[in-house]
């Protein structure tokens, strides 16, 4: 059924081999950008999904929780009843932050010895994590001040009540809150998208410009065969890109990779399917390489901005949030950060996988349909 696919594939690889600049175009810009991002990119974010575990269940502990609620900066998504629930909330991404009030909180607070409050943050997005930790600190000190004022009216001269906030050690989560850990995985997705969309749309438009496309269409080849033949090489190049940038991140920047490489591979494959589809779709709207370039230029930035790479989707207006659902990069960033830093598997990421597969199938399907027409 795909007899002529081989013809296109052989031709593509011959052309690639013949191109002395291929290695510079395909590898060096990518590696350079990763290094630039790794060293140069840093900044900061908010609105935090929070899980609360109150093991003390005292007046004081409830008062502290109400302080968190009062700021409206924390959305409490789960009042957990045991530690394992909190861990699950963080792993699944349901919560970004967890506040654990240990038993004896009220007693230690009153004695002035320092009441223990444990905070766990999902450090995969170090911006969110840093900001929310800052809020925690603010709220806790306000709580301390109020408690101290209350205590002094009752019993003058006693030690002021204090809360000792401890950041829970979660090594697989980016406990050091390094921006770099957050950025590099994101860079993998972003650069791969730019690379693959560009390569694909340019390659097809070039065949149109040179006139080989018309020649191929008068042969008995079917559009599906041609499209597969054109995209398969870029699929492989895209996978190589992902591998390259991942290796750079792990070996050069020492980003921990705690997840399953195969989950990453599946995710990357579905992501590439969607990006190839996007590139092809763009090519069916372009007659010349300049048009393809303009179209790419027009789309790449919004895709980047609406991906959650840098700006949190939760902070965007509702309409833009909806737009992000059409963005394959949005899903892949979640997958790649989760695989890198959390090590979660398919069971937690199936929605993202499904979304990328759906986008890929729809865009590839549209390209095949539009492809024939676009010759006219």
């Amino acid at each position: 059924m795909f007899e002529r696919l081989e013809a296109i594939l052989v031709k593509e690889f011959l052309e690639l081999r013949r191109d002395p600049w291929a290695i510079f175009r395909l590898i060096i810009p990518l590696a350079l950008q990763v290094i630039v991002y790794g060293y140069a990119a840093t900044f900061t974010v908010h609105h935090v999904a929070t899980a609360v575990l109150d093991l003390d269940n005292s007046e004081a502990s409830r008062s502290l929780i109400s302080h968190f609620l009062a700021t409206r900066r924390f959305d409490i998504v789960d009042f957990a009843d045991r530690q394992s629930t909190v861990t699950r909330d963080l792993d699944s991404g349901k919560a970004t932050l967890a506040i654990v009030i240990h038993a004896g909180f009220a007693r230690d607070l009153a004695s002035g010895r320092g009441a223990p409050l444990a905070v766990a943050v999902d450090g995969t997005n170090s911006n969110t994590a840093l900001i929310s930790l800052g809020y925690v600190g603010e709220i806790v000190s306000r709580f301390e001040a109020e408690e101290a004022a209350k205590a002094s009216t009752v019993k003058a001269g006693a030690a002021p009540p204090t809360v000792t906030v401890s950041l829970e050690e979660r090594p697989w989560f980016n406990s050091g809150l390094e921006d770099r850990w957050f950025f590099i995985p994101g860079v993998i997705g972003t650069l791969t998208l730019v690379q693959v969309v560009n390569l694909t749309s340019f390659a097809v438009v070039r065949e149109r410009e040179v006139g080989t496309l018309e020649q191929i269409m008068v042969s008995p080849i079917r559009p599906v065969e041609f499209i597969l033949g054109k995209t398969l090489p870029f699929f492989l190049i895209g996978l190589a890109d992902v591998a390259l940038v991942t290796l750079l991140g792990v070996l050069w920047f020492h980003i921990p990779f705690v997840g399953d490489p195969f989950v990453m591979l599946y995710g990357a494959s579905l992501f590439l399917l969607a990006t190839l589809g996007l590139g092809l779709l763009l090519s069916t709207f372009s007659r010349t390489q300049q048009q393809a370039f303009a179209l790419n230029f027009f789309l790449i930035n919004p895709i980047f901005i609406l991906s959650g790479f840098a700006f949190p989707i939760a902070a965007m207006p509702r309409f833009l949030q909806w737009l992000t659902f059409l963005n394959p990069l949005r899903y892949f960033l979640i997958v790649i950060r989760a695989v890198f830093l959390k090590g979660v598997g398919l069971s937690d990421l199936w929605q993202e996988f499904a979304a990328m597969a759906l986008l890929g199938v729809v865009m590839l399907g549209l390209s095949v349909l539009r492809f024939k027409k676009s010759l006219d």
């Binding site: 013809a7 052989v10 031709k11 052309e15 013949r18 006139g211 018309e214 008068v218």
Partner: protein, 318 residues
């Protein structure tokens, strides 16, 4: 459809009926009908914009007509373009070669597209390359060939799968005379083996090589016949005026009695007159009288261009 348009044979390799195609406001082809017998070399001749490329692309099944029917060897191209593809070959003005692949690799690729068995492809490629004079260039990159060689390589690629119908859109535009000669030698050979060839050209001299011609203008066929019959049908007779100053001669003869038409052809002027014998002396005298100087005037056989101009006026000249 009149008799001239249908050719001699009752069996047609290509038959088109009532073809129309419009691009926006431009009616590129209007109500076109013709039939080409098997083994004919059929030429569409006309200036740029006459609709030649549009016809070729519709015949090749890559452009849908707005109206009309096309049959290639009995296959309905409009309804089933895929069925026609294995038996036809279409060479656009610029054949789509991969310039970063070698001659041999381009041939390999186009052979693969038509799923030719390896042995067949090898033998056929050798034979075609030989005929095109490209055998020693097999390992050269297509991008480094001359214009004429590229076009011949295109023809080789187009002929690999032994098509029954060959469609050539201005195949020799920008091709050097030597390559053009090779090109036509290959086409004549093909005709011997029963291949039907349709081609378009803006070169009038090339038009003389076909068995039948369709003179095209503004999307319509104005005349369709063999070159000899077209020439015979030209009203009047032709005189050739060779003068030191052909422009002045052209000007001096404009409006002279008995002159039906004038065509400046480089260093000479073709003058169509009602009676060659009677007018020859008159024209010589007129040129002397107008101060153009002595000129050699003699009757000649008309070329296709003369026929075309006689038919359409100056606007028809390429």
């Amino acid at each position: 459809m009149n008799r001239e348009m249908t050719g001699e044979s009752g069996e047609f390799a290509v038959r088109a009926e009532g073809l129309c195609r419009r691009f926006g406001a431009l009616q590129a082809v209007r109500d076109l009908s013709f039939a080409v017998a098997r083994g004919e070399i059929f030429g569409f001749v006309g200036p740029d914009g006459a609709g030649k490329t549009t016809i070729m692309r519709m015949l090749a099944g890559v452009l849908l007509p707005d109206k009309g029917e096309i049959f290639l060897e009995g296959i309905d191209v409009v309804a089933e373009p895929e069925r026609a593809k294995p038996i036809l070959s279409y060479m656009p003005q610029r054949f789509g070669l991969y310039e970063d692949l070698t001659v041999a690799e381009n041939i390999f690729f186009y052979g693969e597209l038509f799923e030719l068995p390896w042995r067949v492809r090898r033998a056929r490629a050798r034979q075609l390359l030989q005929a095109a004079g490209l055998l020693s260039f097999e390992r050269r990159l297509a991008g480094q060939l001359s214009g004429g060689m590229k076009q011949k390589l295109g023809l080789v690629c187009a002929l690999l799968h032994t098509p029954k119908v060959l469609l050539l859109d201005e195949p020799t535009t920008g091709v050097d005379p030597l390559s053009r000669r090779d090109f036509w030698a290959i086409l004549y050979n093909l005709r011997e083996s029963g291949v039907t060839i349709l081609f378009s050209t803006a070169y009038m001299d090339e038009a003389e090589r076909c068995s039948r011609l369709a003179l095209m203008h503004e999307g319509e066929i104005r005349l369709c016949d063999s070159p000899a019959r077209l020439k015979a049908a030209m009203p009047g007779a032709l005189l050739e005026v060779v003068s030191a100053d052909p422009r002045a001669a052209h000007k001096a003869l404009t409006g002279a009695p008995g002159v039906l038409g004038l065509l400046l052809m480089g260093d000479r002027v073709h003058v169509r007159v009602d009676n060659a014998l009677r007018r020859k002396g008159e024209l010589e005298a007129r040129l002397l009288g107008e101060g153009v100087g002595p000129a050699a005037i003699q009757p000649i056989e008309p070329g296709i261009e003369d026929v075309f101009v006689a038919l359409l006026g100056q606007e028809g000249a390429a």
